[in-house]
Amino acid sequence: MTTAPAGGRLDAAALRARVADFVAAHDPATTDQSEFLAARFDAGLAWVHFPEGAGGLGAPRALQVVVDKEFARLGAPVPAGRERLVIGLGMAAPTILAFGTPEQRERFLKPLYTGEEVWCQLFSEPGAGSDLAALGTRAVRDGDAWVVNGQKVWTSGAHAARWGILIARTDPDVPKHRGITYFVCDMSDPGVDVRPLRQMTGEAEFNEVYLTDVRIPDAHRLGEVGDGWRVAQTTLMNERVSIGGHAEPREGGLIGVVADIWRDRPQARTPGMHDALLRLWVEAEAARLTKERLRQQLAIGQPGPEGSAAKLSFAELNQRISGLELELLGGEGLTYDDWTFRRPEGADFRSRVAGFHYLRSKGNSIEGGTSEILRNIIAERVLGLPGEVRVDKDVAWKDLPK
């Protein structure tokens, strides 16, 4: 049995030893999964870069991938079904870590990590769109609580969520970025009404969430009153850097589906389709290598702005590849599998038809930051080009055109 060095520098070797010790003490084959995860949290092996007591060990962020790989090697890979936790793990947790009180960390992080409590994100509004800071959901102070009214949209998982990270306007008399406050919203509050939002695919992956006199205790505020925009930046930054720890295989994405159609159906081939397919194959492979290069940069702690670029090209590629897929299928591309209004379970695109790929991919350039906003970000933050002439910076929110 390996023995972890007591104290000392937390390098890759030390962490591997800790994982080995942990796995020895909690046999993944026989330990209940929630229990295993809870223990892993307590051992600081959830997020090694978080502080001790908050699921981590205060180690460098880059070492998390070492820990994950070691767990996988020792027979405790990431359990299935954690996609539903992506908002909690990827967005709520880092924000709670950065802005939460000790009580908030204590209350929220562990059940978030074990999957006992699912989180959702209550940011977008129909009236705000890309101009997120223009949001109109109001939170009014009432004693030691806040009363919230408004409407949120594009909330995935809201119907299954226990908590929601919420931004709301607490002061309409100051410019829009300055009058926002960040809360944790209890989704079981009777004032929370979650309604499915049907997409062009026929399904409802997302929800509209109507908030009517929802009471949020002030203790569930994250960060200062009026500082919600800054808090939300931490959330959003973490959304965009979510790149997996493992290299993606060649033809791993939608391009592989279309390449296989090409290989399987000689009768569908035309010279024009061939060149179109190859152009997309080249671009998909370039995007894959770019993502791999970004992963290598992140692993040595040099996150580049390529995260926005990766999302941008992923969306465009998916749209073009699925467009070609439909045309390659010809008559079959004129059909669809199922328009029934339902809530999807998983998100495995391979189980759906080309028409679904095509339609669903249209959302890729809208959700999580439109392609237009990402281009602005690249132009201004990466290339340093001057911003737009702004007419809304110094105007009180209530006086802006709606």
Partner: protein
């Protein structure tokens, strides 16, 4: 013909006054009877009863079913130029009516048989022109004009057997125009729809119902055999390609107009979204492409209307060019509407589905480019 000329007959790419009047009537009817929320409600109905028969009757009463049919054969004796204007408006409304299958494809196949065709052809043509009956041409909707004569259906004596998937407007047809191959080679036949098994297909384009048509020794009347049957089918597909491009133009126009209107009112960052230059330039490019599509569509409509030897080229050009423009326009409409454009409750998806399906219908753009290559002698190989 508009404008001063020096006497020589020239291709007219403009809309005549008659055409503009017809457009106004059709548009007004559609505004009244075919608003997008009604279309959406219709495609959602549980019975799967997508085609709007009442609207189709109204259109027939306006004469749109008989436009290209000569007066002596029961039609309005106008031309396919006017039919193309109707197609533009139907595209603009994403109207769920059996126009393409009945008034274009089946009608064109029957028309191509000529004045001296079998009596059954003439009777059916007159019935289609008056709107009394509807028909469908039993080929997969994805068939391109250059395709070989279909062999899915076998003719044996007076009966047809075979299955054809993806037939447009077959569900609402009273009569089927069926290409089939028999001992005498290619032939074109009439089958009463009730004698066929028609199974609805879940189609990507919600507003354009498709069906699988199965014939089990279905009694049939022969209309033509041999070269004449081949020519009729090809002519129908060329006409269909030309007219479909007009519909695609209407889809593109709806998408651009709706997006521009939305971006003038939608505010972000304290400004109308339509004032952001990146979007303005994209919409300008789209407008340029649609202007070009209009010329290409008029060219194709004129070519099929005059039965020009250039019709196959003009139709292939129209499909090769306009398919992409319509898809691009619909895709930009979704993207530039932001989240709302991705929802079921907004009409953009109806047009996106129609645009993308139309890009496959009657052959994808790459196949039309191959047709062009053949016609203008730009061979693919060494």
């Amino acid at each position: 013909m508009n404008g001063p000329t020096d006497g020589k007959e020239e291709l007219n790419l403009l809309y005549t006054e008659v055409e503009e009047d017809l457009r106004a009537s059709v548009r007004s009817l559609l505004a009244d009877k075919c608003a997008w929320d009604a279309v959406l409600a219709r495609v959602e109905n549980e019975a799967g009863d997508v085609a709007d028969k009442a609207l189709w009757r109204d259109l027939a009463e306006m004469g749109v079913t008989g436009l290209p049919v000569p007066e002596e054969r029961g039609g309005a004796g106008v031309t396919l130029r006017e039919t193309a204007v109707v197609a533009e408006e139907l595209g603009r409304a994403a109207a769920p009516v059996p126009f393409l299958g009945s008034a274009v494809l089946a009608t064109a196949a029957l028309l191509a048989l000529g004045d001296d065709a079998e009596a059954a052809a003439g009777e059916t043509l007159a019935a289609l022109a008056s709107g009394e009956r509807d028909a469908a041409l039993v080929v997969p909707l994805a068939t391109e004009p250059d395709a070989a004569f279909p062999e899915a259906v076998r003719a044996d004596g007076g009966a047809l057997t075979g299955e054809v998937r993806g037939v447009v407007d077959a569900l609402t047809a009273d009569v089927l125009v069926v290409p089939a191959t028999g001992p005498d080679g290619p032939g074109l036949y009439l089958v009463e729809a009730g004698d066929a098994v028609r199974t609805p297909v879940v189609s990507l384009d919600l507003t354009r119902p498709l069906a699988a048509v199965e014939l089990r020794s279905a009694p049939a009347r022969a209309l033509a055999v041999g070269k004449k049957a081949e020519t009729a089918v090809q002519s129908a597909l060329v006409t269909g390609a030309a007219l479909l491009s007009a519909e695609q133009l209407g889809v593109a126009e709806w998408a651009l107009d709706t997006t521009v209107a939305y971006l003038k009112t939608r505010t972000q960052f304290g400004r109308p979204v339509g004032s952001f230059q990146a979007l303005k330039h994209r919409l300008a490019d789209l407008w340029v492409a649609i202007s070009q599509a209009r010329a290409v569509v008029r060219n194709a409509a004129d070519a099929v209307a005059t039965d020009s030897p250039e019709a196959p080229l003009a139709a292939a050009l129209a499909q090769a060019f306009v398919s992409g423009v319509a898809v691009k326009a619909a895709e930009e409409a979704v993207q530039l509407h932001g989240g709302i454009g991705f929802t079921w409750e907004h009409p953009a998806h109806l047009y996106l589905k129609r645009a993308k399906s139309a890009a496959i219908a009657l052959g994808t753009a790459d196949r039309h480019r191959l047709t062009i290559a053949r016609l203008v002698e730009l061979p693919v190989g060494a």
